[in-house]
C-alpha cells in the first residue's frame, strides 16, 4: 500500500470518530453552526481526497452525504431525527469501506445506490424516506439506517453488531500499521518492562550521586549531572507512554447518554471539558466503569423529565457537565448535573428504613453526612427499579473502585438545583507519594493519600494523649481519635526509653480511610518521597498490614503500610460509624448489633449484658426475700429462685433479714436449665441497641471486658460466671444426675460470641465444645471427635460457615449431624443450600434452644 493511501486511512479513521461525536452533538443543537461546519468539512475532506486517490465508491457516498450536509449548513434543510439517522448510517458506510481498504488495499464490491438515493431524497427535502430500511446488498450486509444504530459496538452493545465491517477490523488485517500512520502499537508488557527498568535506573542514579557526593570527585560532576538529567527525562518520557487522554474513555459517553435520554424520554445535554487531560492507562481502565455508571446515574436519577423541569422553572433540556483537570499529582474529575439534587430527608428516611441508622443519629448528622449514605452498600433511593439504575448496586461500588486506586469521591448537592460529584484520583498507580515514618529504628511508608495530618501530642489538653481503659486516644479538635501504636501493631520491640537521646517523643500520623480516622503512633516522621510501589513477595502476602514494598532513594528496602489493612486489623473498619468511641478489639469482627441491657450495681462503670440472655426482668419487694441455708431465695412461679447480687459488697442475707422492708429490688431472671436464677441489681438503666466492640482482658471476676455503650465505658458482664455462682450447690445434684448431656460444638470466630453462646448453652444442659474457625472444627472431625449437633457462625474468615457446612455434608463422620447456623444477616436460603439444618439470628437464645431441641429430638437434661 502506498504511503499516500496509508496516510489517508489514518486521517479518515480519526475523522470518523470525530464525526460520530459531532453528529450526536448536532442532533442536540441543530442550529449549532460550528458543529455543522465541522461535519461538512470532515466529509468534504474525505470526499476530496478519495477522488484524488481513485476510490470511486467512497467518493460517491461521501459526495451524497456532503450534499445533505451542505443544505443543512446553509439552512435550506432542517435537522430531523430521521436525517441524523441517515447521516450516521452514511458515516457507518464510509467506515465500512475504509476498513476494507485498510485490510485489502482496495474498495469492496457493492452497491450504495439506495443509501445514496435516500441521501439525495433527503437533500431535496423529500423526507420521510421509505419506511422499510434499505435492504443490504448481498455482497456486503449494511447497517440499517435507524437511530439506534451503533457505530462503536464494543462500547455500548446497544444495537446488533454491524457486519464484518465492524471497527474491530482495525485490530487485525494485513497491514494494521497502515491505518495508523505515525503511531504504532506496543504491547503493554513492553511498556511495563521499560517502566521497571527506568525505575531501577533512577534508583541506581541516586545511589551513584550519593557516592559521588561522598567521594567529592570533581571530574565526574559534569558528565554525571548530564546523566542525571537524561535519566529524569527518560523517566518522564516512559511515564508518558503510559498516559492516555481521558477523552478516550469519554468518547463513548455522548452516544450512551443520547440513547439513554431517548429511552427515558428526557432531553439531556452532555458537556465535556478537559478531554485532553492525560492519565495512566491503568488508572483510565479502572475509572471507566465507575464513570459510565455515574453518568448514567445522573441522567436517570439526577435529571428530571422535561415537564418537571419546566414546572421548576428550568430549561427543558437537562445538562450534565463532565470535566477533568490536573491538580498537583492528581486528576480531578467532576460530574455535575442541574437536576433535582439530593433530597436529604428522603435519604434519611431510607437510611432509617434500611436499618443503616437511627432517627437519633440522623438528627445529629450534617446534611453532607446524610448524603453520604448513598455510598452505602445496598442503598438506592430510586422508588422503582428501572433498567438503567436503581438496582441497589451502584454508588458503593463506584466509591470502592475509586478508593481502591487511592482516589476519593465527594458529593455536593443542593436540593432542587443539582448535584456535583468530585472524584480525585492519582495520575498513576506506579508511583505514589508516601510519608516515611520511623518506628523502633525501622522505616515504613504510608501512602500520602491516606495521611490527613501529623500531630505532635503536647501537654495541652487539646492535643494530649489519654487512655480510656487502656486504649489510647487523642483529643483532636473536639473529637476523640483512636490511637494505635505502630510498634505494637507490627510487634516490634519498643526502643528503650530514655538513653542518650533523652525521652522518646511520640508523633501521631492521622490517617483516614473512607470516613474512618485513626492515629498511628510513630517515633518520628522523616519526609515525603515519591516511591515506586512493588508488590510484596508471595510468602509475605498474607500479612494484611502491608500494601507493597519499595526501595528508597538511599537504597533501603522498606514496607509500605496499607491503611485499610491497618484499620481492619484494629477493628476500625469503614463499616464502623462511631469511630471516635472506638475501642480496639483484636479478635475478629464483632460488628454485630445487639440489644444490651444496661444496669447499675455498686460503684464504678455501668454494667451491661445481652438482653437475650435474660428471660425476664422482675422487681421483688424486700419482704419477699427469704433466707434459706445461708442463701437468699424468693418464691417464684411455684419454685424457689436463688438470688445473688451483682454488687458483691451487698450482704444478701443481711439485706433480706434487716434491710428496708419497703424497698423494691430489680432482679434479672435467668433460666438455668429450667430453673430460674435471679441476679439483683441496683437499677435498670436502659436497653440500648448497639454495635459492640469489646475490649477483653480484664482479670476482674464476672466481667468479660469493657465496651463503650451510649458514650460511656461499660463493663460487659460474664453471665455464665454469675449463673454458676447463683446456682452453685443448689443444682449440683441435678447436674450430676443428668445423664449423657448432648454434646454441642460451637464455632464462632468472635471470642465475644463464643463466651456468650457457650455458657448459655451449658446452662441449658449441653456439653459445649468451642472452636474459633471452621478449619479447627474440621480438624476435630479428622481427629475423630463426635458431637450431637453443631452451632456455627456464618461469617468467619477462611472457609466460613457456608464452606464448613458444604465440607460437612460432602462426607465424613459428621455427614448427618444437625447443623445450626447463627447469622447476623438474612442468609437463610444460602445457609440451607449449603447444608445447614436451621438458621437462627444472632443471638436469639430461645429460638436456638428450641431449634436444638427439635434437631436432637430428645429431652434436654435439666
Amino acid at each position: 500500500m502506498d504511503d499516500l493511501l496509508a496516510e489517508f486511512l489514518t486521517e479518515t479513521s480519526e475523522s470518523l470518530s470525530e464525526l460520530d461525536l459531532a453528529v450526536v452533538r448536532l442532533e442536540r443543537a441543530p442550529d449549532d453552526q460550528p458543529t455543522l461546519s465541522l461535519i461538512f468539512r470532515l466529509v468534504h475532506t474525505i470526499k476530496g481526497t478519495c477522488g484524488f486517490l481513485g476510490l470511486p465508491r467512497l467518493e460517491r457516498v461521501a459526495h451524497a452525504s456532503e450534499t445533505v450536509l451542505d443544505r443543512l449548513r446553509n439552512g435550506s434543510l432542517s435537522v430531523s431525527g430521521e436525517g441524523i439517522g441517515l447521516i450516521l448510517s452514511a458515516i457507518d458506510r464510509i467506515r465500512l469501506i475504509v476498513d476494507t481498504i485498510s485490510r485489502t488495499g482496495a474498495e469492496p464490491d457493492g452497491n450504495d445506490g439506495e443509501l445514496i438515493a435516500e441521501l439525495i431524497a433527503l437533500a431535496e427535502g423529500r423526507m420521510p424516506v421509505p419506511a422499510t430500511p434499505a435492504p443490504a446488498p448481498a455482497s456486503i450486509p449494511l447497517p440499517t439506517p435507524t437511530l439506534a444504530l451503533d457505530p462503536v459496538p464494543p462500547s455500548t452493545g446497544a444495537a446488533a453488531p454491524p457486519p464484518a465491517s465492524a471497527p474491530a477490523a482495525n485490530d487485525h488485517g494485513a497491514d494494521p500499521a497502515a491505518s495508523r500512520g505515525q503511531t504504532i502499537r506496543v504491547s503493554v508488557d513492553v511498556l511495563e518492562t521499560l517502566m521497571t527498568l527506568v525505575s531501577e535506573l533512577v534508583l541506581t542514579r541516586n545511589q551513584f550521586l550519593q557516592q559521588l557526593r561522598a567521594s567529592g570527585n570533581a571530574e565526574l560532576t559534569g558528565p554525571v549531572q548530564r546523566l542525571s538529567h537524561l535519566t529524569t527525562e527518560l523517566q518522564e518520557g516512559v511515564m508518558k507512554t503510559r498516559m492516555q487522554p481521558i477523552g478516550n474513555v469519554w468518547n463513548m459517553l455522548p452516544r450512551q447518554v443520547r440513547d439513554l435520554a431517548h429511552d427515558l424520554g428526557k432531553r439531556v445535554d452532555l458537556v465535556m471539558h478537559g478531554a485532553e487531560t492525560e492519565l495512566d492507562r491503568q488508572v483510565l481502565e479502572l475509572i471507566k466503569d465507575p464513570l459510565t455508571h455515574m453518568i448514567r446515574n445522573s441522567a436517570d436519577h439526577g435529571l428530571e423529565g422535561p415537564e418537571e423541569r419546566q414546572r421548576a422553572g428550568k430549561p427543558p433540556v437537562g445538562t450534565i457537565t463532565l470535566s477533568a483537570r490536573h491538580e498537583g499529582g492528581h486528576v480531578v474529575i467532576e460530574i455535575e448535573d442541574d437536576g433535582r439534587g439530593i433530597d436529604v430527608r428522603r435519604i434519611a428516611d431510607k437510611a432509617i428504613a434500611q436499618g443503616l441508622s437511627t432517627r437519633a443519629q440522623i438528627d445529629s448528622m450534617s446534611d453532607d453526612e446524610i448524603r453520604r449514605f448513598i455510598f452505602q452498600p445496598g442503598f438506592s433511593t430510586a422508588a422503582a427499579v428501572t433498567s438503567v439504575s436503581g438496582r441497589g448496586v451502584g454508588m458503593d461500588v463506584v466509591k470502592t473502585n475509586i478508593e481502591q486506586i487511592g482516589g476519593l469521591i465527594e458529593l455536593h448537592s443542593v436540593f432542587g438545583k443539582g448535584s456535583r460529584f468530585l472524584i480525585k484520583i492519582p495520575l498513576t498507580l506506579a508511583i505514589v507519594s508516601a510519608l516515611i515514618v520511623g518506628v523502633a529504628g525501622e522505616r515504613f511508608a504510608i501512602p500520602q493519600a491516606s495521611v490527613i495530618e501529623v500531630v505532635l501530642p503536647g501537654t495541652q489538653s487539646d492535643t494530649r494523649m489519654e487512655t480510656i481503659d487502656g486504649a489510647a486516644v487523642l483529643r483532636l479538635r473536639d473529637r476523640l481519635l483512636p490511637l494505635i501504636r505502630l510498634s505494637t501493631l507490627l510487634q516490634l520491640p519498643d526502643p528503650p526509653d530514655g538513653g542518650a537521646t533523652g525521652k522518646r517523643t511520640d508523633m501521631v500520623a492521622v490517617i483516614g480511610i473512607g470516613s474512618v480516622r485513626l492515629g498511628l503512633i510513630v517515633d518520628g516522621v522523616f519526609d515525603t518521597e515519591e516511591i515506586v510501589v512493588k508488590p510484596v513477595a508471595n510468602v509475605l502476602r498474607h500479612i494484611p498490614l502491608f500494601g507493597g514494598n519499595t526501595i528508597l532513594e538511599d537504597g533501603a528496602v522498606i514496607m509500605i503500610l496499607d491503611p485499610t489493612g491497618i484499620a481492619r486489623h484494629a477493628g476500625l473498619d469503614a463499616a464502623r460509624k462511631d469511630t471516635a468511641r472506638a475501642v480496639a478489639e483484636e479478635d475478629g469482627d464483632t460488628d454485630q448489633r445487639l440489644d444490651m441491657l444496661l444496669v447499675r450495681a455498686g460503684i464504678g462503670a455501668p454494667k451491661a449484658l445481652p438482653l437475650s440472655l435474660i428471660s425476664r426482668l422482675e422487681t421483688f419487694a424486700a419482704d419477699r426475700l427469704e433466707v434459706s441455708g445461708g442463701r437468699v431465695v424468693v418464691q417464684y412461679r411455684d419454685d424457689l429462685m436463688p438470688i445473688i447480687s451483682l454488687d458483691e459488697t451487698v450482704d444478701m442475707p443481711h439485706l433480706a433479714l434487716h434491710g428496708d422492708r419497703k424497698a423494691v429490688h430489680p432482679v434479672l431472671v435467668f433460666d438455668n436449665g429450667g430453673k430460674p436464677v435471679g441476679l439483683m441489681v441496683e437499677e435498670i438503666l436502659d436497653v440500648v441497641n448497639t454495635a459492640l466492640h469489646v475490649e477483653f482482658g480484664t482479670d476482674r471476676q464476672g466481667v468479660l471486658g469493657a465496651a463503650v455503650i451510649a458514650g460511656r465505658a461499660t463493663d460487659i458482664i460474664d453471665a455464665a460466671f454469675w449463673l454458676t455462682r447463683a446456682a452453685g450447690n443448689w443444682f449440683r445434684a441435678t447436674a450430676a444426675a443428668a445423664t449423657a448431656k448432648p454434646r454441642l460444638l460451637v464455632i464462632d470466630d468472635s471470642s465475644f460470641f463464643r463466651q456468650l453462646v457457650a455458657p448459655s448453652l451449658s446452662a441449658a444442659g449441653y456439653d459445649v465444645t468451642v472452636a474459633d474457625s471452621a478449619e479447627k472444627a474440621l480438624a476435630m472431625r479428622e481427629a475423630g471427635r463426635s458431637f450431637d449437633a453443631i452451632v456455627s457462625d456464618i461469617e468467619m474468615p477462611g472457609l466460613g460457615g457456608l464452606g464448613f457446612a458444604r465440607k460437612v455434608r460432602e462426607g465424613g463422620s459428621w455427614v448427618d449431624m444437625p447443623l445450626l447456623a447463627l447469622t447476623g444477616s438474612d442468609t437463610v436460603q444460602e445457609a440451607r443450600s449449603a447444608g445447614f439444618t436451621d438458621t437462627i439470628r444472632k443471638f436469639e437464645r430461645d429460638t436456638l434452644l428450641s431449634s436444638l431441641k427439635q434437631c436432637l429430638s430428645q429431652p434436654i437434661a435439666a
Binding site: S199, E200, L201, L203, T204, E442, L490, Q491, L492, K534, A537, N538, V539, L540, R541, H542, I543, L545, F546, N549, T550, I551, G555, A556, V557, I558, M559
Partner: protein
C-alpha cells in the same frame, strides 16, 4: 551403591537423563555441614547485603534485600533446616535463586567451590536424617574428604504463603 537418578533435582531441566552426565554443584556450608545445590539453579552469589527485616513475617524469612533495584526476599536457610541461628558476627552470604517468577536469596554460612559430579554417584538420603533434612535433601555425594548433602532449592523456597 544405590543409583537412583530420578530423585535428582535438576535446576535447569535441560540435561538428558544420562547416568554418566555430570552436573555442577555449588558447595556451601551450613553450621559446618557441607551441602551442595545445582549450579544452574543459582543465579548469583551475593555477600554482605543489607537485610531489612519484615515485621510479622514468618521466622524463615530473614527480610528483604535490595539487589540492584529488585527486591529480593531473603530466606533463612538455617531456620528452614531447623538449625541454630547463625551467630550475629558471621558474614552473611546468599545464593540468589528464582522461584515462580520471584527472586529469593538463600542465606548460607559460606560458599566454597563449584564441583562437577557424576550423577550416578549420588546416594539416597540416609533414612536416619531428621525429617526436615530428608524433606529438603535429594541425596548425598561421598566426596573424598566428607559427605555433601544435595539441597533442593525449589523445596527450600516452597514456603507456606
Amino acid at each position: 551403591m544405590f543409583s537412583d537418578t530420578n530423585k535428582i533435582h535438576r535446576g535447569d531441566g535441560q540435561h538428558p537423563l544420562d547416568d554418566r552426565q555430570e552436573q555442577g554443584f555449588v558447595t556451601l556450608t551450613l553450621a559446618d555441614q557441607l551441602c551442595g545445590v545445582p549450579v544452574l539453579a543459582v543465579r548469583e552469589v551475593i555477600t554482605n547485603s543489607k537485610i531489612v527485616r519484615v515485621p510479622l513475617a514468618p521466622s524463615e524469612i530473614a527480610g528483604n534485600i535490595n539487589l540492584r533495584g529488585r527486591i529480593v526476599t531473603a530466606v533463612d536457610t538455617r531456620c528452614r533446616l531447623g538449625l541454630e541461628p547463625a551467630p550475629d558476627t558471621a558474614d552473611r552470604v546468599a545464593l540468589v535463586a528464582e522461584s515462580e517468577g520471584a527472586l529469593y536469596a538463600l542465606l548460607i554460612d559460606q560458599v566454597q567451590e563449584v564441583l562437577s559430579l557424576r550423577l550416578d554417584m549420588i546416594e539416597e538420603t540416609p533414612s536416619n536424617l531428621s525429617s526436615t533434612w530428608r524433606q529438603f535433601s535429594t541425596g548425598v555425594f561421598r566426596l573424598p574428604e566428607r559427605l555433601m548433602v544435595v539441597l533442593d532449592i525449589d523445596r527450600l523456597l516452597a514456603l507456606p504463603a
